[in-house]
Symmetry: none
Subunit: 117 residues, 2 copies
DNA sequence: AGCGTTTGCTTGGTAGACTTAGCAACACGT
DNA sequence: ACGTGTTGCTAAGTCTACCAAGCAAACGCT
């Protein structure tokens, strides 16, 4: 059964990158400390590897983690469109300079403004 | 048993972001189509969520996937946090829902908070 | 007081991510 | 011809990410 799972594109991508790097399955397995049979299964699209496995593969192949995550469809590629409103709240929440209470207060004010218009 | 797994920082981060967004576990569960008990376990650091779960959480909380991956240590990538202050102000200025006066007021409040600490 | 709802959590179970052991086919040196 | 090493793969098992069902405590609301 030549089974082509929808996400197998990732596996083929990894395999091609590995071959371009002239690495055998076992060599890549050693570099990533992932078992070689499992790597084989990943490349054939039988399983979807966890993020940590993806990350170590990326490092071993000298790819950026983003590249491989994007290929895996885990990184809604290119700046998410995100409507404007949530962007303000998100920016506030991530600000390391503010305390939790200050964040909540700011968001309350912001929502109050939205409510008015 | 107050066990603090090494990766529980991620869980605490998610929980704080969820609470700042004023969402209950079940609300976030619905948004992410992840079961609420599992979310609870993630937030308490009992399990490490897969990349796809992380991604949907990021979307529901209006965070970039990169942000949450970085928090999970899956994206050791370069300087993640960056200067946050300009980001909040920029987001406010770009918000089309706010009037000019409202934007100025919000930024005044924000700068007041920064002044304090 | 009572009942409905909402909160977060525990329990039991399933599936799939991942491993160790091992196999068949192909290359090489003798 | 026979080793020995390499290649990728299969088989069988373990572990854990994840879900459905359900529970106790806290909240209204009447």
């Amino acid at each position: 059964m030549t089974n082509a799972e929808p996400w197998s594109a990732l596996g083929e991508f990894i395999r091609s990158q590995r071959q371009l790097a002239r690495l055998s399955l076992r060599q890549l397995a050693e570099l990533t400390s992932v078992s070689n049979p499992y790597l084989s299964q990943i490349e054939r699209g039988l399983y979807r590897p966890s993020a940590q496995v993806l990350k170590s593969i990326a490092e071993a192949l000298h790819l950026s983690a983003e590249t491989i995550y994007a290929e895996a469809g885990l990184l809604d590629q290119r700046g998410a469109e995100t409507a404007a409103s949530p962007r303000v709240e998100a920016a506030i929440r991530l600000d390391p300079e503010l305390s939790t209470e200050q964040k909540e207060a700011l968001i309350q004010v912001y929502r109050g403004f939205l409510r008015g218009r």
